[in-house]
Symmetry: C2
């Protein structure tokens, strides 16, 4: 399939303008566009600018309020709860991480929960906000049901991603960004569209039997990582982002394509100031040493990469050379360009 | 193999007296004995009273100070760092969780790191301390190298367990307690002793090739859960418990059987007060509802169990009926009984 190259800045301006024309305030539109382009730059296209039409479908169906103002429901020196009032998850989560960083600056730790929110993009966007300022960042979100609790047939937990980002002195930030399932639902959908099978170990059918048929997998459940471990991890995210945040209970988050009502998503954002525990300079130097120790190991193939390194390299390349989007993603953007009257400028790329 | 039944209280008193005779103060010996019996009660015998002779071997080799006093190195309202001064990990970790709970009571969150420590038993002992008082507890520890960073041949990260415990209103606490590897090293050792093979997916040989030979696996590395995910999770525990705690850098924790020097283990203990984020009664009721939703799902086989439920049931049974220990564990305790002059009282059990 053909690809098209776009400068990152062009995609950012395009997304921002489309969002503003859809009723999003200028500051929020910048945040949302930034998370989408950040995902594309880091190579996580499932959460990139291609997500824009799903978001706007929710706005058009009036089940996501593009102009919502976040409200601080509970405020303590170290903790807060923010009500997103059914606005964009990105706007609320960025606000929440800013607040967590302020609290962490004063007390060493800040933790902010967000309720009545929506899809917030990639979790690592928020953990990286912390790492870029020398803090350790944690971000998690619940999601629509995809995983069956270990030993059950029906899905109840979301794939519930978790991200942790840690700064270093002279290298890139070390970043964990993982879902609680072996693969994202998108990979199963891709296999279904391509007419192929999926590997055993990705998913189960409605009867809880492991399947290689993507159609059965879509009706069934995604396999949690390492069985009971991933299932318990997904449950803990349900508890922190849903139950404790007074957002959706397990099983109640609406899937993004279901426009019959609000998603009710909840998030957890947490920041830790390393200087509360150690000498900051020493800690950052020790993180460089940690990275160096991993990089110096004998690779199984080619080179050993540290978590977050490949995404960092991908983003550096993307900023210089542009972001390559697939034909179907470009078509979706062209439709938005026409609908919202915002020009889309890119270059024809070469087939990969 | 024959088994022998011991009342939990008898094992507790035995372990406590042996530890005191080995030079451990009375309060610390009670804590250490309690963590060991708690592990046996919850069915996690790898971290039960059978661990006692490994601990005492370190004391006898003078690489673990049984009479060490913990020292608070850094103290802030919400965070602290405790130096265990190479004493028992259990004594330091319990102290750290008590401190984290005090801080969480005042500020909503408390986080305490421990450096220069030793093996602390099961991580869930400390997270449960929090849950039993209505708080959410987090506990993690680094460990001697067992896992290769994803894409590398040599081990660098420990199996680095993480536990989270959440209270409920009228049910048991929900508990995640997992290592970052697919299985513990002990399971590979068991297969080696039994002369059998291990399943593919548990471990790799020294060349990074998946192996079914337990002897090759022992020389090689344990497989992290879900490849890059478990590897990144293990790294984050190395960072929090080792690098940030100013304890061992990745790769530097000594294995418990290596008596050439201190272990240098580090721990992370964190407590969250739910009332800082939500109405406490509502939160506890919502946890009951969360448990009920999971229990009401269609089981794949028999019954769906919530994380921590089987361990809770096992402990209830053990408190009533006693703890069954295998013949080799009983032999080890008998040797300690003779060496430290402490009587060991149990009943002959039936073969299973």
């Amino acid at each position: 399939m053909g690809k098209k190259l776009f400068p990152a800045e062009a995609l950012l301006v395009f997304a921002q303008q489309v969002l503003q024309n859809a009723g999003v305030r200028e500051d929020d539109s910048r945040t949302i566009a930034d998370t989408l382009v950040c995902a594309d730059l880091r190579g996580i296209h499932s959460h990139g600018i291609g997500k824009l039409d799903q978001y706007l479908a929710r706005v058009n169906a009036k089940v996501l309020d593009p102009a919502a103002q976040v409200e601080i429901e509970r405020e303590n020196p170290v903790t807060s709860v923010i009500n997103a009032h059914n606005g964009f998850g990105q706007a609320a989560a960025r606000h929440a991480m800013e607040l967590a960083l302020q609290k962490a600056g004063a007390y060493g730790i800040g933790m902010v929960l967000v309720n009545h929110s929506n899809h917030f993009g990639i979790a690592s966007y928020y953990s990286l906000m912390a790492a870029e300022r020398g803090f350790i960042g944690f971000a998690a979100t619940n999601a629509s049901p995809g995983i069956a609790p270990f030993g059950a047939k029906e899905k109840l937990f979301g794939t519930n991603p978790i991200s942790i980002a840690v700064p270093s002195k002279s290298s890139f930030p070390v970043v964990l960004d993982m879902s609680s399932s072996v693969v994202a639902r998108g990979k199963v959908r891709q296999a279904l569209a391509a007419g192929g099978e999926i590997p055993l170990g990705w998913a189960r059918d409605r009867n809880g039997i492991p399947t290689t048929d993507p159609a059965e997998a879509i009706k069934g459940t995604l396999e949690p990582i390492s069985g009971p471990k991933g299932s318990a991890l997904a449950l803990m995210v349900e508890i922190l982002c849903g139950v404790l945040a007074s957002s959706a209970m397990p099983g109640e988050v609406r899937v993004i394509t279901d426009t019959s009502g609000p998603c009710g998503t909840g998030h957890m954002l947490c920041a830790i100031d390393p200087s509360s525990f150690a000498d900051s300079e020493q800690f950052l130097a020790d993180m460089d040493e940690t990275i160096a120790r991993i990089k110096s190991l004998t690779p199984v193939n080619g080179e050993v990469f540290v978590p977050g390194e490949l995404e960092h390299l991908c983003a550096e390349k993307g900023r210089l050379e542009g972001i390559a989007l697939k034909e179907n993603a470009v078509s979706a953007l062209s439709a938005l360009s026409e609908k919202y009257g915002v020009p889309l400028i890119g270059e024809e790329g070469h087939d990969e």
